[in-house]
């Protein structure tokens, strides 16, 4: 079978399943008694096993299978969940991730996991192994009596909740027979959903389907490997059913097992866990018999089914194509500008109308093109819970990680770059920030430290904060270190504010850990983080109180390519000032301008604000010197500092696409880039930060 075309899908889906495993394992650690979580993990692992076996990655399938056995034992309450067991399961997930990554890089997914496998086996064969064998031998014995073929070991038996059991038991008492039918489709079956439909059609003509695994919905979406199981209540004989189902083409094997009272009762005693999500109550057949009961049960079973996160349909598109789309769209914007000016000249009503309608459609289109590049920051955040767990176990600290705002959306390019800096900062918080439980207790803090990872939108920016309630930054230690490393001199050091001292830890060649650990503090630390974030057009700051904790705050532009600007005019030239730096605009009178130390300033709401005349800074050629009585001023901000940029006139606010000036023109003073206006001309973007140094 040609598998290459499915490889990418396989890799993506495997990653998703592994991610869901990790998430749920973390959840399980918090609620070790919650069997539904185990079921969730089991399901992910099972799907992964099926997929990898189909794709021919035996190692991957094998390890997943071993892990699944342990999970199965947990879910059947043969093993109790302990941190040690979870460690091993986490280890397996790590291995699985490594394998998938290896496959993604073109490898064969092979990896030596004998150690982990041995551990898994040891867990699995704790005490309950006998019981396990006993059960399967009973089942086998029962199977051999009735079934025409032997039940496949691989697929788990169907599980029934109490309602289904009652239905089955009652119908057997009324002279019906209950069968568990396992249907295996051929591996090269192309229309799985159609075959499923045909099988169900036959079954429903002959009896009532009580439940199926996977659920009917999933079967219809072809979310299963090759086999599925159905529980049926019928009066038709086994042989007849068997041959009828086999008549459906592309069905490879049909196994029919009779469900007896004994088996159900036995299963009931063993399986406390009821997997409600997987129950599919087929309304039509049984309702007539037990109306009241069905209603309550179907409500019970549909609610969680709906709660299961609806997977929206997606396709994957390369960033490159989106860039091309964006460029083409800009061309359109320019042409629209031309059309608009032509239509105002021509004054043809129909033309005007068409151009107007086109403009509106293009506005919508623009929104879509822009949002297409945005993805939730979750894709970066979701690897941290596991990382923090591993770190805290390695460091023997108790740490609770809280993630807030994972749904915040950011441009894809920013998302790709932000992962490493965040890993670094979180490691830093876990390693240097949070103290050991003993120290925390001695300081009167709860033993468990808290690290909060928070993301939110504000204006044109996304903020990501990493907050810990650890030791905070030790001012003296940082200062001494900085002096000894020659980053600051003693004289300068005495004049630094607390904030400036905190900033020192971002200086290159700075590392405060007394002991260099594996986790952070190799001296290549935070300065790299700062550089990366600044290269993304963002910045990072720290707030820290000794003994209380620290907060690292990262400010990032929503997107690297689209910003909101205020367009201003100076003589014939148009400049764009990023809206994110602007506080407000105002018109000032000549008499409002004051002189202070050769610097023109104004009094802006009680603050003295220096004026920067952009025509002088940018050496704009003036046709004639005009003495205006009024000046248009844009008040901009950089941190705490304010400045007033004097321009000739305001044009208006606009969303623009940021363009680089190319490799030839680099480091132009106070210009951060360019954009193309509606009239097709290039406008330069003012870098307010550079103007206020």
């Amino acid at each position: 079978m040609e598998l290459n075309q499915y490889l990418e899908m396989f890799i993506e889906e495997s990653k998703e399943h592994l991610q869901s495993c990790s998430d749920n394992l973390l959840e399980l650690e918090k609620n070790p008694e919650d069997i539904t979580i185990v079921n969730e993990i089991f399901r992910s692992a099972h799907t992964l096993k099926g997929m990898s076996a189909t794709m021919g990655y035996e190692d991957l399938a094998d390890l997943t299978h071993k892990m699944e056995n342990v999970l199965d034992a947990i879910r059947n309450e043969k093993i109790r969940v302990t941190p040690e067991i979870l460690d091993v399961v986490f280890e397996s997930v790590d291995h699985l991730e490594a394998m998938v990554l290896n496959i993604a890089d073109g490898g064969d997914g092979k990896r030596d996991v004998s150690n982990t496998v041995a551990k898994l086996k040891r867990i699995e064969s704790g005490e309950p192994v006998q019981e396990n064998e006993a059960v399967s031998s009973i089942e086998l014995a029962a199977t051999e009596v009735v079934a025409t073929t032997i039940v496949e070991q691989d697929s788990p038996q169907l599980e029934y909740d109490s309602f289904e059991k009652t239905v089955i038991l009652q119908s057997t008492e009324q002279g019906f027979s209950a069968y568990e039918i396992s249907v295996t489709l051929r591996a090269d079956c192309l229309l799985k959903a159609a075959r499923v439909y045909m099988v169900f059609d036959i079954l429903e003509k002959n009896g009532d389907v009580v439940k199926s695994r996977p659920t009917v919905d999933k079967l219809e979406e072809e979310q299963f490997d090759q086999d599925f199981k159905v529980a049926l209540i019928t009066q038709t004989s086994v042989d007849e059913l068997h041959s009828k189902i086999l008549k459906v083409s592309e069905v490879e094997k049909v196994t029919i097992t009779q469900l007896t009272k004994d088996k159900l009762v036995q299963a009931a005693s063993e399986e406390v866990a009821t997997t409600i999500e997987e129950v599919h109550v087929n309304e039509n057949p049984i309702v007539s018999q037990q109306k009241g009961q069905t209603e309550s049960a179907s409500q019970k079973s549909t609610a969680p089914a709906n709660a299961k996160h609806a997977t929206s349909k997606t396709i994957r598109v390369s960033i490159e194509r989106l860039d091309i789309l964006m460029n083409l769209f800009e061309e359109l914007v320019i042409d629209r500008g031309r059309l608009q000016s032509i239509s105002t000249e021509v004054k043809h009503p129909e033309l005007n109308e068409t151009v107007e309608r086109m403009s509106r459609t293009m506005g919508d289109l623009q929104n879509i093109v822009l949002t297409m590049r945005m993805i939730p920051i979750e894709t970066v955040f979701n690897r941290f819970p596991k990382m923090v767990r591993t770190l805290s176990r390695d460091l023997k600290k108790k740490i609770n990680l809280e993630v807030i705002g994972a749904e915040t959306e950011l441009d894809r390019t920013v998302i790709d770059e932000i992962g490493d800096p965040l890993v670094h900062l979180i490691r830093n918080s876990v390693d240097h920030g949070i103290e050991s439980p003993e120290v925390r207790r001695a300081n009167g803090k709860p033993e468990e430290g808290n690290v909060t990872l928070r993301a939110y939108h504000s204006g044109n920016y996304v903020f990501i904060e990493i907050e810990d309630d650890g030791a905070g930054i030790n001012r003296d230690k940082v200062l001494n270190k900085a002096i000894s490393k020659g980053i600051v001199t003693k004289e300068v050091a005495s004049t630094l504010s607390d904030k400036q001292i905190n900033e020192l830890i971002f200086a290159s060649g700075f590392s405060t850990a007394d002991v260099i650990s594996d986790i952070s503090g190799r001296g290549v630390g935070l300065d790299v983080v700062k550089t990366t974030i600044e290269s993304l057009g963002g910045n990072i700051s720290i707030e820290s109180t000794q003994g209380v904790g620290s907060t690292f705050s990262i400010q990032l532009p929503l997107t690297l390519s689209i910003i909101s600007v205020m367009l201003v005019e100076i003589e014939q030239e148009t400049y764009a000032i990023p809206l994110s730096s602007i506080i407000e605009t105002s018109i000032i009178k000549n008499s409002d301008i004051l002189n202070a130390h050769n610097q023109k300033v104004i009094d802006f709401r009680g603050k003295v604000v220096p004026l920067i005349f952009l025509d002088e800074i940018f050496e704009v050629p003036r046709n004639e010197q005009i003495n205006q009585d009024f000046h248009s001023v844009v008040i901009v901000r950089k941190g705490e500092k304010l400045a007033g940029l004097v321009v000739d006139s305001f044009i208006g606010q606009q969303e623009i696409v940021l363009k680089s000036l190319g490799n030839y023109l680099t480091n132009i003073f106070a210009i951060s880039g360019a954009t193309i206006l509606g009239n097709g001309k290039v406008a330069l973007i003012v870098d307010c930060n550079a103007l206020m140094k």
């Binding site: 460029n327 320019i334 030839y664 193309i676």
Partner: protein
């Protein structure tokens, strides 16, 4: 410089003042009519600014200014030749772009001493063709702003 090793070199010929210059065709992306140039402040005098070349912001260099030839008024024939190299894309403002011709590599001579003006630094050779004299530009040197 594979092109030089071949027998024939395809070049674009353009006019600056009374001289004819040539650039290998492999480096030329296109020839544009003069369009609106946005001035970029605080750059070298020969950098005229940037243009919007089908959605790409492209810097423009005035070759007259670059070579120290007195600037003429823009005329009908003025063209922008878009040059691409491995690292960058720029446009050269020239008086006119005449034609594409094949010159035999054997006709290219090293820079003679006589030319003696500012553009000497930017020349990689001279090709003599019947009664024409083509000056081959050394692109890397023209594009290197550090001089």
């Amino acid at each position: 410089m594979n092109a030089v090793e071949q027998e024939i070199l395809k070049v674009i010929v353009f006019q600056l003042g009374d001289k004819e210059y040539a650039i290998p065709l492999s480096n030329v992306q296109g020839i544009e009519k003069l369009m609106h140039i946005t001035r970029v402040p605080k750059t070298a005098k020969y950098v005229k600014g940037v243009i919007n070349l089908r959605g790409v912001v492209t810097p423009i260099i005035d070759l007259r200014e670059r070579f120290g030839i007195p600037v003429s008024d823009n005329e009908e024939t003025t063209r922008i030749i878009i040059i691409t190299t491995d690292e960058m894309e720029v446009g050269f403002v020239v008086d006119s772009a005449n034609d594409v011709i094949d010159i035999p590599v054997s006709s290219i001579e090293q820079q003679p001493e006589v030319v003696g003006s500012n553009e000497v630094d930017f020349i990689s050779g001279v090709a003599k063709l019947e009664n024409r004299l083509l000056i081959l530009l050394h692109l890397d040197k023209v594009l290197n702003p550090a001089d």
